[in-house]
Amino acid sequence: MISFPIIRIVTKLLIPYILLFGLYVQFHGDFGPGGGFQAGVIIASAIVLYSMVFGLPAAHKVAPPWVIEKLVAAGLLLYAGTGFASMFLPRPNQDVAVNGNFLEYAALRHNFLPGILPTDQHLGIFLVELGVGITVTAVMIIIFYAFAGRRRVA
């Protein structure tokens, strides 16, 4: 492999900031512009950049394909699981215990460390966006791996 020292060093400097920005977009998405999808593609693009500069085997060490394959499903499961969790938890502020509907975040209300941990609607949106972010990151990386891992046939 031909080494391009300037590109390698600039990439090394940039990647932490790209990842940090991705996390900011993910977890600050409730307050500012952003959300799971945007964060997912930003984090995935950091991995893509890394593997473009340092080679696919190096990227496979950072983000092993078998882990990424599992994450594709894990994100969607987290999203759907949040929905099912609210079906098995009682709605707050009701005399008779009634369970919430699918994805009814009000049922996720809790009094554990109030003010520090998100609760209620905030917790629901947090989990759901995290699920979207995980799935989008994993799908983008897996598509890139699938393309980059191929060799010219003829």
Partner: protein, 206 residues
């Protein structure tokens, strides 16, 4: 002091968008064409930012200018970098494009003015979402997120499932086989082989 005029940014960006689009169509070197599509996406992202849609701009910059450009480059590395010269006459395609483009421009004449508060998109389903959101979501100020993940969470679940399905489909078609000679094959197969060896050992014990 003169007030900032938005057209100072708008006109150059739109002009550059048009120039890039023509360049993509004209250039015969496919590497250059891919680079131009990346530039086009980046300009598109800047344009979205001017239209006050930063989330769309993020997505356009990361997907359009970043990942899809890389995927196209990866495809070119497998196929070839020169477009075959066409012998067919360009008149019929030109006519189709002109008619379609004219119809689309004609369609926009009926649309409400940009940012018009009386536009149907701002009146329906219910403008009250914007006012209710803060209270309903217990103080989360981003209405876009609360509509996407809160009021229409079921919808977004479907969208995530679509992305999931797309990823699985690409994986099924393009996933490297174990027997192929890939750089990561040893990493992957070693794990599988370890599993197989463990199974064999178990069977042997029985």
């Amino acid at each position: 002091m003169m007030e900032f005029q938005p057209w100072i940014l708008e006109i150059p960006i739109l002009a550059l968008l048009a120039i890039t689009a023509v360049a993509v169509a004209r250039v015969r070197d496919l590497w250059a064409a891919v680079m131009f599509t990346g530039i086009y996406s980046f300009l598109g992202a800047s344009w979205m930012l001017i239209l006050d849609a930063p989330d769309v701009a993020f997505t356009e910059a990361a997907v359009g200018a970043g990942i899809s450009t890389v995927l196209l480059l990866g495809t070119l590395a497998l196929t070839g970098k020169k477009e075959k010269p066409t012998t067919a006459s360009p008149l019929l395609p030109l006519a189709v494009v002109l008619v379609t483009g004219g119809a689309l421009v004609y369609g926009t004449l009926d649309m409400p003015y940009f940012g018009d508060p009386n536009a149907p998109v701002h009146q329906y389903p219910d403008p009250g979402f914007v006012e209710k959101s803060m209270h309903d979501m217990h103080g989360l100020p981003n209405v876009v997120t609360s509509v996407l993940a809160g009021y229409r969470g079921y919808d977004t679940l479907g969208e995530t499932a679509v992305i999931f399905t797309a990823g699985i489909a690409v994986l099924l078609i393009l996933r490297p086989n174990k027997d192929d000679d890939f750089s990561d094959a040893d990493l992957k197969s070693s794990r599988k082989e370890r599993k197989a060896r463990r199974k064999k050992r178990k069977r042997g014990r029985k």
